[in-house]
């Protein structure tokens, strides 16, 4: 077993004329928090889509847990232990929060359209309840027990993001991909979210790949940062290294002067 849980090799992706990704390679060490940053339209979400199977890269490979998954359907990757959240919320709007999370258990459940409806007369009930129990643990962990039965579509933005995270966790993933988990949150909520991410990383041992624009968060909780710009990998390294890079500062953070960094970083953090 190698150290890296996810390896992306020379991935390129183009939509018609738009080159979303050009020859990007990187590795994500097992058990780390890996952040992808970059200006809007740099191809970050496209990168996650390639990893989770929404998009097929035009060339290159995605290797997950030493297995080449480039040609697998997204649902097969979920079976292998890959969970994710989405930039533009993608909850099941008319389902209750609990059911949303239970969908995350889908690939672990055994009952089907014949045994499920027999419910009492088959192992389905027992199984459903056992998994329900697991979901409740996630609900407790993310502190959303009060909205357990609410319809997901009517929740406020921040809560929906949290439910998305819960749903992704229910997959029992080894790797979780988070697309801007803190967008649209205020400081307090960001703090909560950061705590959940750290906990799921440290306590559950889930590797995290995260796209985030909040530099404070990125700096504080990630082990490694990769910068994408115009579909190309600009650099990757420790958070401090990346932040110190003049190109990153100019093209992404919009800081011209060295002295300002500290000051700005503080401000960005909120």
């Amino acid at each position: 077993m190698t150290e890296s849980i996810l390896k992306v090799e020379n991935v390129s992706l183009a939509f018609g004329g738009v080159k979303a990704l050009t020859d990007v390679s990187f590795e994500v060490p097992r058990g780390s928090v890996f952040s992808i940053i970059g200006p809007n339209g740099a191809g970050k979400t496209s990168m996650l889509n390639c990893i989770s199977g929404r998009y097929q890269p035009n060339s290159g490979n995605v290797i997950f847990n030493d297995k080449i998954v480039t040609d697998l359907r997204p649902n097969d990757r979920a079976d292998l232990g890959m969970g994710r959240t989405f930039q533009n919320l993608a909850l099941f709007g008319h389902m209750s929060v609990l059911d949303n999370i239970m969908v995350g258990r889908h690939h672990l459940l055994k009952n089907n359209w014949l045994t499920g409806p027999l419910y009492w007369a088959s192992p389905a009930q027992k199984e459903e309840l056992a998994h329900r129990r697991y979901c409740e643990e996630i609900i407790d962990f993310l502190e959303i027990s009060h909205i357990r039965k609410s319809v997901a579509g009517t929740l406020s933005y921040g809560l929906r993001k949290r439910v998305e995270l819960a749903r992704a966790m229910a997959l029992k993933p080894k790797l979780i991909l988070l697309d801007e988990p803190m967008a649209g949150m205020n400081l307090e909520e960001k703090e909560d979210m950061a705590r959940y991410i750290l906990d799921l990383n440290e306590e559950f041992g889930i590797t995290v790949v995260m796209i985030e624009h909040d530099m404070g968060v990125v700096m504080d909780i990630s082990h490694q940062v990769m910068v994408l710009d115009f579909g190309k990998k600009l650099m990757s390294g420790l958070p401090e290294e990346v932040m110190a890079d003049p190109h990153v500062k100019r093209a992404y953070l919009g800081i011209e002067d060295d002295d300002e960094i500290e000051e700005e970083a503080v401000k960005e953090a909120s």
Binding site: S52, G53, R54, R73, P74, N75, R77, A78, D79, G83, R84, F86, A90, L91, F92, G93, H94, M95, S96, D99, M102, V103, G104, H106, H107, L109, K110, N111, N112, W113, G116, P117, L118, Y119, A124, Q125, E128, L129, R132, R133, E136, R148, K149, S150, V151, G153, T154, L155, R167, A168, L171
Partner: protein
């Protein structure tokens, strides 16, 4: 789309099992059980006409529930449900007359046969979405209808085919009163099946596919499998409903299963409430009683002065039809989310009473 979960005070659940029941509250559960028991005694109390309507509600209700699983829960519109209903009817009759399988076995078998056909015609669902799919199912409606008229070996072609009454241990359910129990049992069974389906794994997958198929796939749901499966299950229900219809009438003719029937099924579930099991039943009851109620309305009208104006007398038939159209329109204008939704709102209202919110 109420975001509140509302339960009466004092109803605390202490286990997940209690929290996972079909019925929201104990009261509802008991009311349902009581209603079913009461329905068992119906033939003793009400007349044959009413029993016919109840039988109609049963077979149409089963088929409509299937359509609701497809349209309401999985989000794929089908305009071919009437044809699948017909297929079930013919299939059951055919199984019985040519293979001599006992009727009570033919009915579920016809369900599975129809399921196969449904999946065949649902196969494009793997690639086609939304209204394109809806029209593809319209194509299946016409193709199957044509098949009925043509396939003499299967449907008896133009002259139709006969269907024996259901018999079990030598007892023939050939009167309305006895067939009623078959219908009621099937209805209850299929609805419980539906309820359980929707609260277990595959049912959730259907809803997930409907609400957001992209993220459903990423959550591990096999998209194509479920798109197809929901066609299968919906046709299965249609097949069962159709088979009951066949053995009730004793005769199946190719004429009845037109696009109008498909539309009628759609009307039932939309009026009842998409994605609601109890709504399905309400919608079916509504659509079955509507023409009957209007017919009595016509009867009453004939007795008044209005009944003597030639223009009106001549037009009664049309006025009745127009009223059906109008009721559907009016209903949807005032209750676009169906009866089930209004029902929930009324319930919520009383829970908060006398406080408005």
């Amino acid at each position: 789309m109420s975001s509140l979960s509302m339960r009466p005070c004092g109803d605390f659940r202490t286990s997940y099992k209690q929290d996972n029941t079909i019925f929201e509250t104990k009261t509802i559960r008991w009311v349902t059980i009581f209603t079913i028991i009461a329905l068992c005694f119906a033939p003793l109390v009400v007349d044959g006409y009413f029993i016919t309507l109840l039988i109609q509600i049963s077979y149409l209700g089963i088929a409509a529930l299937g359509l609701n699983i497809l349209v309401g829960y999985t989000g794929q519109i089908s305009l071919g449900h009437g044809a699948f209903f017909g297929f079930g009817a013919f299939a059951s009759a055919w199984l019985n007359t040519s293979l001599h399988i006992p009727v009570f076995l033919c009915i579920p078998l016809a369900g599975f046969l129809t399921m196969g056909v449904g999946m065949m015609f649902g196969a494009p669902a793997a690639r086609i979405k939304g209204l394109y799919l809806a029209i593809a199912t319209l194509a299946s409606q016409f193709i199957i209808e044509d098949f009925f008229a043509r396939a003499d070996w299967f449907s008896g072609g133009a002259s139709g085919s006969m269907a024996e009454p259901v018999s079990l241990f030598g007892f023939a359910f050939d009167t309305d009163q006895s067939f009623y129990y078959i219908a009621l049992f099937s209805l209850v069974f299929m609805f419980i099946w539906g309820c359980n389906l929707m609260r277990s794994r595959d049912g959730r997958a259907f809803v997930a596919v409907r609400d957001h198929y992209l993220s459903a796939e990423i959550m591990g749901v096999k998209l194509n499998k479920y798109r197809l499966l929901s066609f299968g299950i919906s046709s299965f229900y249609a097949g069962i409903g159709g088979a009951l219809y066949a053995h009730y009438l004793g005769y199946v003719s190719a004429e009845g299963f037109t696009i109008m029937m498909s539309i009628q099924f759609l009307a039932m579930i939309i009026i009842g409430g998409l994605g609601s099991i109890k709504g399905t039943l309400m919608g079916v009851i509504f659509m079955v009683f509507l023409p009957e109620v209007l017919e009595s309305g016509v009867g009453v009208m004939k007795m008044t002065d209005w009944g003597n104006i030639p223009m009106v007398v001549d037009g009664l038939a049309y006025i009745k039809e127009m009223a059906i159209g109008l009721v559907i329109i009016g209903f949807l204008i005032f209750e676009p989310e169906g009866i089930a939704h209004r029902w929930t709102q009324i319930k919520n209202y009383w829970k908060f009473y006398p406080f408005a919110y």
